[in-house]
């Protein structure tokens, strides 16, 4: 028997938590001498009030969906993949190589191959930590942290010494050819009012597809069944004849691949070139997104949108309110993570009591039982 109706669990509680987080954020805004109400309005309007806002919100969300799913899949196998940052960076490398090395006749072909490369590069970067975990018991948290650093060193080297356009100052690859330009929201759905400059592009649909596929994988396939079983209990998994090494490897490869796929959005869809530090913390945000989304693709999707809103709304706030600095936005994000993710029992516990007592009263009223 559940303590609360499902709608309260999945909608009401997170909503109250977000409101609490925003209230506290309001206090911080007040502290720096601005109006919280106005700030709130700017954020919401900036993120969701226009096609322009949505274009950025969903663009950021796309990144977070990929990295969030990556962390979530690993979580199902009880592994904490902190390496999304490095895996996504390597995914970018894969995309760049694909886009630069072949004169693609059409973006769709390029996207297909780039997806493959992004996933393979990301997965490859997760493979060594996974193998060491499976075979040597080396803790995946340490190895993936280390691989983040190694990835950044590798990328700096390659961008400066191999891919840089001769004579250019910027450690970045050449711009990709126009042929691999991905259709963006304005190309696909101009009637929604998107402008040609919107960064939201077709990879958003890829992210949605990824959500669906991950959901299928985890909850509908044998492999997903085995991954979850292994994540819940390794001894039981062995009892059922599930091979731990295989599960660790596969789960981490999928995780790394998903992180790598982020590059189709950020590198191929938006920047159209590979720059230094192209991930910009999305790997870490992915951890928060996966945790807040309780490792469920729908939850990950919603949490990613929330973070997209915070990113884009935050940017607008910063543009419009000079006193609000970008660190202020980080604080707001932190408070949202804290209240919705870590402190949600603070809201849940009293709510459960409330619903229980309501139900008791219902029962007392109807003596039929």
């Amino acid at each position: 028997m559940d303590k609360m109706p499902k709608w309260a669990d999945v909608i009401l509680i997170p909503l109250i938590s977000v409101i609490l987080a925003l209230l506290v954020s309001g206090l911080v805004v007040l502290y720096i001498g601005e109006s919280p109400v106005e700030a709130m309005q700017i954020m919401v309007r900036g993120a969701m009030g226009s096609a322009y806002g949505w274009g950025y919100t969903l663009f950021y969300a796309t990144n977070f969906i990929f990295t969030g799913l990556a962390v979530a899949v690993a979580f199902h196998a009880r592994m904490f993949n902190i390496g999304g940052e490095g895996q996504a960076a390597l995914g970018g490398l894969g995309v760049a190589i694909v886009c630069l090395s072949v004169p693609w006749p059409h973006w769709s072909l390029a996207l297909l191959v780039a997806c493959g490369a992004a996933a393979i590069f990301g997965a490859a970067w997760a493979a060594i930590p996974a193998y060491l975990q499976a075979k040597r018991g080396s803790h995946i948290v340490i190895t993936t942290i280390m691989f983040n650093f190694i990835a950044s060193a590798l990328l700096v080297y390659l961008l400066v010494n191999v891919f840089r356009v001769p004579g250019s100052m910027a450690p970045e690859t050449a711009r990709f050819a126009d042929a691999v330009h991905l259709p963006n929201a304005a190309d696909i759905a101009p009637w929604l009012g998107f402008r040609s400059s919107t960064p939201l592009n077709i990879s958003f649909l890829l992210a949605l597809l990824a959500c669906f596929l991950v959901w299928m994988l985890i909850w509908r396939t044998r492999l997903g069944y085995e991954i979850r079983a292994f994540g819940h209990s390794e001894t039981a998994a062995v009892y059922a004849g599930i091979n731990p090494v295989r599960i660790i490897m596969i789960a981490m490869l999928i995780s790394g691949g998903l992180a790598g796929l982020m590059a189709t959005n950020s590198v191929m869809g938006e920047a159209e070139r590979l720059v230094i530090d192209n991930v910009q913390g999305a790997g870490f945000v992915g951890i928060a997104v996966a945790l807040m989304g309780r490792s469920h693709p729908v939850g990950v999707f919603l949490a990613a949108i929330l973070f997209g809103v915070l990113y884009q709304g935050g940017a607008e706030l910063e543009f419009e309110m000079p006193a609000v600095s970008r660190e202020m936005i980080v604080v707001i994000q932190a408070l949202v993570i804290l209240f919705t993710g870590a402190l949600d029992n603070m809201v849940r516990m009293p709510m459960e009591k409330l619903f229980l007592s309501l139900r008791r009263r219902d029962r007392a009223d109807s003596p039929a039982e």
Partner: protein, 309 residues
Amino acid sequence: DGPALVFDLGGKFDRSFNEAAFNGAQRWAEETGGEYREIELQSDAQREQALRRLAEAGSNPVVMAGFAFGSVLDTIAPDYPETTFVIIDSVVDQPNVQSIIFQEHEGSFLVGMLAGMASETGVVGFVGGMDIPLISRFGCGYAQGVVAANPDATVIANMTGTTPAAWNDPVRGGELTRGQIAQGADVVYAAAGGTGVGVLQTAADEGILSIGVDSNQNGIHPGQVLTSMLKRVDVAVYNAFTAGDEIETGVTVLGLAEDGVGYALDENNAELITPEMQEAVDAAREQIIAGEIVVHNFSDDGTCPVAMQ
């Protein structure tokens, strides 16, 4: 209406490059009483967003600090033919863009000479933020200057890191400095953003000389900072703001001749720079301007004529 300034990811208070841009804008605002808009970026994707917003809001000119804007500006500039964009540290070939390039190697050459002359051990150090072409340009010009002043001198070069943390890690900056001191360095030049704070600090703590970068950092540790390699980003921004709508497009190269780069001399380091040193450096400056000395630009071919350790 009104000019606008976009800072790079380092943030406007990085005590060097972005802060110099900020100072230029502030000076313009104070002198003219005008108002300008500014944006600090949070992520790469916001580059384009910021530029477009400002252009659409009618800001003119839109000035951006940092080579990383190059590629983005190249794509968006044609969309706003009415707006003039000014990009610092990169060349963008569009009719409505003014590209400002600094000859950092020339300025670095001068402070390198000072370092070479000030050094008693014949060993000097360089701490860069990340091994990227821009930083190598500083380092290479510096090394050439050192060797010009003291052909037997050794230049030790270190880079802080490969992640964004490389620009904000004074502790590692300090540690690298200590390592260089241990290898005999008694002058160290920092081109590493916030990390440089740690370099200058450790140099002061350990009683050796340091050289600041971009802005005049002599005052951070008076009497202990030999000089600063000035990169007059502030002047560039100030000029762009002042020119307003009438700004010229095309490429502007700011070197020693234009006073775009140079070395800082003020009351904080007056005692450190002997008249002979000043004489030698000023002479070199003239020669460079006259083309008698050619300071090799690392970015030209990715190599440096002087070996660093």
